[in-house]
Symmetry: none
Subunit: 224 residues, 2 copies
Amino acid sequence: MTRVLLVEDDPALARALALTLRSRRYDVTVARDGGAALRDASSARPDVVVLDLGLPDVDGIEVIRSLRTWTQMPIIVLSARDGQRSKVAALDVGADDYVSKPFGIEELLARLRAATRRIAPENGESVVIAGDLVIDLAAARVSRSHVNIRLTPTEWHLLEVMVRRRGTLVTRADLLREVWGPAYEKQTNYLRVYLAQLRRKLEADPSSPRHLITEAGLGYRFEA
Amino acid sequence: MTRVLLVEDDPALARALALTLRSRRYDVTVARDGGAALRDASSARPDVVVLDLGLPDVDGIEVIRSLRTWTQMPIIVLSARDGQRSKVAALDVGADDYVSKPFGIEELLARLRAATRRIAPENGESVVIAGDLVIDLAAARVSRSHVNIRLTPTEWHLLEVMVRRRGTLVTRADLLREVWGPAYEKQTNYLRVYLAQLRRKLEADPSSPRHLITEAGLGYRFEA
DNA sequence: CTACAGCATCAAGAATCCGTCAAGGAACGA
DNA sequence: TCGTTCCTTGACGGATTCTTGATGCTGTAG
C-alpha cells in the first residue's frame, strides 16, 4: 500500500482529501504544519508527500528544502497562489510536481500515480537471486534453499535497501538514513546488530558472509 | 548539454520556445507532428520530450503511449485544453508532467529542470578503465585483472579524488585538503605513505608506477 | 665525490571500527 | 492482562586502520 504524507493546515480540506485518498487504498498520514511534516516524513517513511505551500509555521519552500537534504521521495505541491514565482521556486528546490488550487481530485490522483510510478521501476526485476537466496522485492519475501525466512520489519527494510543497490557500496549513513531516519545517521551500532541478525538468518556461514559484505570504514554491500 | 525534443505544430510557438530553450543552453530538436516526434525520439535520443497534445496527425495521448512502450524518458505535456480529462489521461499513460497554456516560460524551465534532475543520477558514467584496472566510482570498487581489491577508507578516498581528475595534476595541498581536511595541508608525509600503499595494491610494478604518477615538487597525477 | 633535498619504504604503537552477546524496554496481539 | 516479538543500548575482545618516526633510495648541485 502506498503511504502518503498529506501536509495541509486547513482541517476541512485535509479531512476531505484524506478520505478520498483512503478510499483509493492509500495509507494517509496528515500533518498540520511544517514542523509536523518534517517529523512525520522521517518517522512514517511515506512513499510520497503531498504538500500545501501555505502553512502556519514555516514556509512550504523551506519544508521542501529540508526534506531534500536527506531524501528523494516524490513531493507534490498544492497551492492556492497562482503566481509563477512560488511554482518555479518550489520546483527548483526539489519538488517533483505542482498542482494549483482549485484542482480536481482526479488530477491529484493522476499525479500521485505518476509520482509513484516513477519510483517503482527502480530496478525493474523485482526478484533477486543470490546463490541459494531468493529475494522478492515486490512481495517482500526471502527464502534460502526454497525455505521461507521470516524477517522483522527493520531487518527487511535494511535488506531491501542493500539489495536494491546490490553490487554497489551503501554507506553507513545512507543505510541509517533510509531505515531509521536522518536523526540516526551516527548510530552505527544499529547496523552492527542488524547486519549480524541478517547474516545469521541468511548466510550459510555467518562468520564469513558471502552476500552481506562489510566494507570496513565505509559501509556495506550486497553481493549476488 | 541536455537534449530536448520539442513537439509543437504551431510554427510561431515552436520558434519562440526553441529560441528561449537554446538561450538557456538546451540542445533543441523540433518535431511538427506525432509521426516526426516518434521518429526523432528514437533517432535523436533526447533527454526530455516537451509535447503539445494538440497535433495535426495523431492524438498526443497516442504519442505518449507509443513512446512509453520503449523508453522511460521524461515527457512534459503542454496543452491548451484546460479540461481535467486530457490532463488525467496524459499522466496516466505515462507523462511525467503537465503544463496548461497559457504558461510562463519560467514555469516550463523549472519543470524541465525538475525532469532532468530526476534522471541525472542514472547517466553518471562512473566506471574508469586504466589498463587492467577497473575503477567504479559509484559502487566504490576497484579491480585489477578482474580481481577485486580491498581498499581502506582513506586509500579509497585518495584514489577517488585522483581518478575524478584523471589526466591532470592534483597538487599535494588539494589532495590533503580533500582527504584529511584543511588543517592537514602540510602533512605531505601522509601522501607518501598512502600513495605507496595504493601503488602496492594497484600497480603491477609498484616501483615504476604507470597510473599513480609522481610529479616531483608539485603533486600527483592519475593516468589511464 | 659528497652533501642534500625530495620521495619511497618499513614497522610499530595508538586509535578506531567491527562482530558478538546479553539484558532491558517498548510494542503488539491474543 | 499476559506473553511474545521486536527494538534499543551497553560492553568487550579482536581485527583493521591511521599515524608517526626512522631509514633507504635517487637524482642534482656544488
